[in-house]
């Protein structure tokens, strides 16, 4: 029995069940630790039980009942007495898988409650639903461990003190609340996918966890097309993971990626899920982004991409989401699909807007289009401007490389 492996892979699911059973995050965590301690003691001599997870849950539950009974002698809180009775009365998990699934879904909605700050929702979901340690979450988000620990403690206190329920929302509330959950999953994925600094292994784990959460949501809420769209989007983005970064750790643009490194099976699965989501009526932000990702993933070369369709989808996105990133992407799609000049004109128009002056992606996109048009010195200026504005190390390395290439072109003597 690989105890470490069990701990790593099952803790999240066991904890979810225990929190559901006990209605208390801290008590559940503490009792699970005690159950592990008993297991470490007993399993080597008595043998590993047939179902380690059920054994741990049952042991933790009995420990909790003991603890609550003991506390009662000192405090005599009627609430505690009622809780103990309730926990003791709940049937042992004979339908374990089913119970676990429901518990996990309830826990997701609790962790993603809109009354918690967004950063806390993300951290709490990773900690309690996915079972990722506080240290790992801190490393992934480049936040000191004590700060992250405090964020988690505050969130758990708020859940208890404000009376945030442990429940799947009513059908009337489900759509709004699910949006909040999807946002958390999306943020977890993006942190793993887009962050350029920090530990690569943990970032990959974040993507995998986000996809796992997406699958849980789609399994348990099968008619939610937006959840499907998000899962499809994540699968499609993640399918490019091995082509996005070069052996030297440099960012590789979509256009220049080695498409043979893309994971075909994952693209097929993602595309199928996106199509099903669109048939199911998904029309919002994840669905549109997923449709764009599907067009990219299924194009044999960058040139073969259905750029007019990509541009049209960005148009649709802009109708509900004002975002400079989307505007820049749309201009690039126009440049690729119609003409570089037309795309550049759109970017020039964006640049005249005061609020986008400091936006490094805009400068970088302009530089790229100017380079394509052979306007080398203007391109070099735009790269320098992008470099001055960019803060992300990987992006800066990429921009520096491009600038060096351009400078060689403009001055062949050097």
């Amino acid at each position: 029995m690989d105890f470490e492996k069990l701990h790593r892979e099952e803790s999240g699911r066991i904890l979810a069940t225990l929190i559901g059973l006990l209605g208390d995050f801290d008590l559940a965590e503490e009792m699970l630790q005690e159950a592990y301690a008993v297991a470490l003691q007993k399993w080597p001599s008595e043998g590993t039980p047939a179902n380690p997870r059920a054994w741990l849950i049952s042991t933790a539950r009995h420990k909790a009942i003991d603890r609550l009974r003991r506390d009662r002698r000192f405090e005599r809180k009627s609430e505690e007495i009622a809780k103990t009775a309730e926990i003791a009365a709940r049937p042992e998990s004979d339908r374990e898988e089913e119970m676990f699934a429901d518990d996990r879904l309830r826990l997701i909605f609790t962790c993603c409650h809109p009354s918690l700050p967004v950063e806390a929702r993300v951290a709490l979901t990773l900690r309690t639903v996915c079972g990722i340690t506080t240290e790992e979450i801190s490393r992934a988000f480049l936040i000191p461990v004590p700060t992250m620990a405090q964020r988690l403690v505050r969130a758990k206190v708020k859940i208890r003190e404000a009376g945030i329920p442990y429940r799947v929302p009513s059908p009337e509330e489900l759509r709004d609340r699910l949006d909040g959950v999807l946002l958390v999953v999306y943020l977890i994925f993006n942190e793993g996918y887009l962050a350029s600094s920090g530990d690569a292994l943990i970032r990959r784990e974040l993507c995998a966890e986000a996809i796992r959460l997406g699958r849980v949501l789609c399994d348990l809420l099968p008619k939610q097309a937006e959840a499907q769209a998000l899962l499809g989007l994540m699968l499609l983005h993640d399918s490019r993971r091995d082509a996005r970064v070069s052996a030297e750790g440099e960012l590789v643009l979509l256009e220049e990626q080695d498409r043979s490194l893309w994971h075909r099976e994952q693209i097929e699965e993602g595309t199928e899920i996106v199509e099903s989501a669109l048939r199911g009526g998904a029309t919002r932000v994840y669905a549109l982004q997923a449709a764009i990702a599907a067009l990219h993933a299924n194009a044999k070369t960058a040139k073969d991409t259905d750029w007019p369709q990509v541009a049209a989808l960005y148009d649709a996105l802009l109708r509900t989401h004002e975002s400079p990133v989307i505007e820049v992407n749309r201009a690039v799609a126009v440049a690729m699909g119609r003409s570089v000049k037309e795309g550049l004109a759109l970017l020039d128009e964006l640049e005249r807007r005061k609020e986008l002056e400091e936006f490094h992606l805009l400068a970088a996109a302009r530089a790229d289009l100017l380079r394509r048009l052979g306007r080398i010195s203007e391109a070099a200026d735009a790269y320098r401007r992008a470099l001055a504005l960019a803060t992300n190390d990987t992006e800066r390395r990429f921009l520096r490389r491009r600038l060096a290439e351009i400078e060689r072109l403009s001055d062949p003597q050097v």
């Binding site: 403690v153 758990k156 003190e161 009376g163 329920p165 509330e173």
Partner: protein, 121 residues
């Protein structure tokens, strides 16, 4: 659990309402109160007189400082409250969302502290 729903609204906006609209607003408030009271969920509540008749009291170094009005200039002022009984935060939020002023003002949902309740870790 007991929750205090603090109702913030724009006093200026309230002052500009027509008498008919004001009557409708009060009627809607009355209906919600009655409905909640019927279910044993309404523990108390009232509209407050406007901030123009408010007084602020502070004691500093043993000296009483009494000034006019509320503490700071804001767009919305505390205009009233509901004290309700709800099974959890979601129910309290659902009640808050039905308070007429939620449509143009803001409702702050605060659980009451229970004496002897475990202190935050």
């Amino acid at each position: 659990m007991e929750y205090l729903l603090l109702i913030y609204h724009s006093e200026a906006g309230l002052g500009k309402m027509t008498p008919a609209d004001t009557a409708d607003l009060y009627r809607e408030y009355g209906q919600l109160r009655d409905e909640l009271a019927g279910k044993g969920k309404f523990l108390g509540g009232s509209q407050l007189m406007p901030t123009t008749v408010a007084t602020t009291v502070r004691v500093r170094d043993g000296k009483r400082v009494v000034t006019d009005g509320p503490f700071a200039e804001t767009k919305e002022q505390l205009g009233g409250y509901f004290l309700v009984n709800a099974s959890d935060l979601d129910e309290a939020i659902a009640i808050a969302a039905r308070i007429p002023s939620a449509r143009n003002g803001t409702i702050e949902v605060r659980p009451l502290a229970v004496r002897g309740q475990a202190k935050p870790a």
